[in-house]
């Protein structure tokens, strides 16, 4: 069992048409709608992953935030790939669920799309991130009414102290039509920010 104070190694937020990485504003585009903004962010962040365009909006949002946060760390070091993923939101995959429902309501015109159906679970977003970064670690996606810092804090701490994971990518990735928000942070044994509930709330609310 690992003991000692855990840290937050970095964080990324995407909301209000802004992308922020560790206090630095990487891009903003106030005028565009959510889908256009995601596409712009994909290009601006040099994501270079054509499968991105096949994802639903929730997966695109979580994938981008995770990629922006993890990419420099994985490139710069012999970083362990034992990074667990613990995500949460309130809307689950509702936006895609509705899209699927629309395609199956008319019995005379019944053509459900397999490419839509595969995203009718929020944890598919975790699969997309795991495929890109070759993570074989534990992952969970929880549904809460609001950003539940206490639960995420304790869950991440449990994973690291019991050595189920070396690091945990945690946070909130939520979207429903044009209302969207991603806030991810990496819990580690290294970093400059204390892994305290108050610090996490501070990062989440001041993003």
């Amino acid at each position: 069992m690992k003991t000692g104070q855990l840290k937050i190694k970095g964080y990324c937020s995407i909301s209000n048409n802004r992308v922020i990485l560790n206090d630095t504003l990487l891009m903003e585009d106030p005028g565009s709608d959510f889908s256009t903004f995601l596409k712009l962010a994909y290009k601006k962040m040099v994501t270079n992953y054509p499968k991105f365009f096949k994802m639903d909006d929730l997966s695109k949002l979580g994938f981008l935030a995770a990629d922006i946060l993890l990419k420099p760390m994985i490139r710069d070091s012999e970083m362990s790939k034992n990074i667990a993923l613990v995500f949460s939101n309130s809307a689950s995959s509702l936006q895609t669920d509705r899209k699927h429902q629309e395609s199956i309501t008319d019995r005379e015109n019944y053509f459900p799309s397999p490419a839509v159906f595969v995203y009718t679970l929020p944890n598919i977003c975790l699969g997309e991130i795991s495929i890109k970064h070759r993570l074989y670690s534990e992952n969970s996606f929880f549904i809460f009414n609001h950003f539940n810092v206490a639960y995420l804090h304790d869950y991440a701490m449990g994973l690291i102290t019991t050595e189920k994971a070396d690091e945990v990518l945690c946070g909130w990735v939520n979207c429903d039509t044009d209302d969207y928000e991603a806030f991810l942070y990496l819990v580690s044994t290294e970093g400059n920010i204390e892994h305290h509930k108050e610090e996490i709330i501070k990062l989440y609310t001041t993003k």
Binding site: P50, F53, K54, F111, P112, S113, P114, A115, V118
Partner: protein, 85 residues
């Protein structure tokens, strides 16, 4: 037949969200799966739905798709012979 091939290329790009690929980049004999366009198993299912919805062709055995979706050329020939709409 060339109109159908053009139509198929447009549909494949739009319906399979191949954002970075232009119609001119798809040659009639390019393989659609594997090293060609790099389509995957979900795309194959999507193409089966497209055959049904747009051309009235129902594939009862998904394995049939492996031959039919070999290339735009093969696909267009199959659709021209079997379409009901």
């Amino acid at each position: 037949m060339s109109d159908l091939k053009q139509e198929l290329k447009e549909k494949i790009i739009t319906q399979l969200n191949l954002e970075d690929i232009a119609i001119e980049e798809i040659a009639d004999n390019d393989p659609l799966f594997g090293d060609g366009l790099g389509l995957d198993s979900i795309d194959a299912l999507e193409l089966i739905v497209m055959l049904d919805k747009d051309y009235g062709i129902k594939l009862t055995d998904p394995k049939e798709g492996k031959k039919i979706f070999e290339s735009i050329e093969v696909m267009a020939k199959y659709i021209a012979e079997h379409r009901t709409k």
